[in-house]
Amino acid sequence: MVKALDAGKLNIVVAHSLEAKPLIALFNLEKVTDHTAFPIYKNDKGISLVLSGMGKAAATDASNYLGTRLEPELISAWLNIGIAGHRSAAIGTGLLASKITEKATGDVFYPGMLISGYDSSPVITVDEIEKEYDEDVAYEMEASGFYRAAQALSSSEFVQTFKIISDNRDNHVDQINLQNIPGMIERQGSRILELVGDLLDLLDTHNSRHRLPKVFGYLESAYKLTVTQRIQLKRHCQRFQAQDKNGLLEELSKKNYHSTKQLLSVLEKTLD
């Protein structure tokens, strides 16, 4: 049973348990047992899923809730998966959001477009179920709320919304059989796995560039640091790494310094 409440490398936000069910199976997720405001599921590969409930406000709150459990220093990826209506797209089609417009406020979000090879569509987040399909876009109820929160916790390149079309003009939303929803999502399973893989690749590329040498953690705990000194120490460690001098940094870290100031000064002087 997974106990830790930490957010994952990839955090999936889903509105409804019918949408979550096939994803929980797909990623072998287990429910975190501790009491949480929103149900959270996790696996040991760094994937978390939070069940937000319906609507954009719930999606914001659930994302923020998971966001308080992020690992410091490194960035996480975020993915909102759910069903949507569309004027023309066929039932079961999976679409990546290329632009998200919140109908009530007019706020617009642009997910990063680094992931290629997926069909995409603009998405409009509505407060009431869309029955007219006025524009040739996907209509749903959470994406803007999710995006608003997740973008602030990450960077737009790592925040994506994937919608599976459940209704359209010819198959009206009033006729949806809710029991079909898990199947629709399940049928997009391989596409979702690919998307998650692509997002994690992007994320690893980013995080490997920003990973600090291990010594940083040791020095951070061994010396009393002000906020400014912590920033300086972090930058010095990055510079040692960039200059391929991790060995030297390690050697220097083993010496005794009578103050943090002295430590920082020695590190600075040793760098090219």
């Binding site: 642009y110 477009m113 737009s156 992007l202 930058r235």
Partner: protein, 328 residues
């Protein structure tokens, strides 16, 4: 070539825009109201975007032609710059654009007519000779097949001989020049760094040899070309690497026909540097010791103190003195 194309609603139906969109039917076309919504928004990562930038087609409103920054340029005449594009298809590690913009996406301002009107006004306001630089916020030529920049602006300057246009570039896209008669008041200025530095830092830039070949073709066709040895990043015995570069460059060109030759050291506003370090914490170049002067950072020279002077002295030995100017 692009991951997506964003199109401002206002220009969506313009012929220039429709033509570009028709060339890229299979990538997402995404509408936006103003380009800043996409380009200037918070929470984006320049470095990640650089791996697959999008194109943004937009209309520029005002400030079409601006006075050129101090120390930019080759003569005492009034000088200005204009940018029909923001960002560049190349990826030079030392490039200040990485610190200036939040986004690596390319913005192409498609209202060339407005640029032309402002340029025409400025030329009238400066009755004598004046200079107009293109390529400050971008590489003007690199995206020529998409932008058609030369096809529009070269005829414009051809009719205004008192105004000189300098196009600064590292691109070898010279077809637009070779397909027309050379004009006296156009200078194509190519930047160079020594071979090893170029390999290390000038990602996706055509090789030095290809750039020299392109310049040689332009010279042959009667176009004025200039050389910019910038930004000089001084390292141990850099003058030797530069000497080799000078020999390579000048042996391939007609030195007498050169318009001008300049050099200048690597300098960058503090804020830009700060932004770049955030994106490239692992980059060796930005881990080096820096010196601050008047809000500008430069790299603390590695090696002997007079290394840069040696480079300039070496450069001057290849060219007549009057063709040289120091930039910055």
């Amino acid at each position: 070539m692009f991951s997506a194309i964003y199109i401002e609603e206002e220009v969506a139906q313009w012929e220039r825009v429709q033509k570009i969109l028709a060339s890229y039917p299979s990538i997402p076309h995404i509408h936006c109201s103003r380009y800043g919504e996409v380009f200037n928004r918070k929470g984006q990562n320049f470095r990640m975007q650089k791996s697959a930038p999008a194109l943004i087609l937009a209309r520029k409103h005002g400030k079409f032609v601006l006075p050129s920054p101090e120390g930019y340029g080759f003569d005492e005449n009034p000088s200005y710059y204009f940018s029909h594009m923001l960002n560049c298809i190349y990826d030079c590690r030392y490039c200040f654009l990485q610190g200036m913009y939040r986004s690596a996406n390319y913005v192409l301002f498609v209202n060339y007519e407005d640029f032309a009107e402002s340029l025409a006004d400025m030329i009238v306001k400066n009755p004598g000779p004046s200079v107009y630089y293109s390529g400050y916020d971008c590489d003007s030529l690199a995206l020529e097949p998409v932008s058609g920049f030369c096809d529009y602006f070269l005829p414009f300057f051809a009719c205004r001989p008192e105004a000189t246009i300098e196009i600064r570039t590292k691109s070898t896209q010279i077809r637009s020049f070779l397909d027309r008669e050379a004009i006296e008041n156009c200078v194509i200025a190519m930047s160079f760094s020594p071979e090893l530095q170029s390999q290390k830092w000038e990602n996706r830039v055509p090789s030095i040899t290809k750039r020299i070949d392109a310049l040689a073709k332009l010279q042959k066709a009667g176009w004025k070309v200039a050389l910019r040895f910038e930004p000089v990043i001084v390292e141990e015995d850099s003058h030797l690497a530069y000497k080799e570069l000078f020999q390579h460059v000048f042996s391939g060109l007609d030195v007498d026909m050169l318009h001008s030759v300049s050099s200048g050291v690597f300098r960058m506003p503090v804020d830009f540097h700060k932004n770049i370090v955030k994106q490239y914490p692992d980059e060796e170049l930005f881990s080096r010791k820096m010196e601050l002067e008047d809000g500008m950072l430069s790299l603390k020279p590695i090696g002997k103190k007079d290394e840069f002077e040696k480079i300039e002295t070496s450069l001057k030995s290849f060219i007549p003195e009057e063709k040289f100017y120091h930039c910055g």
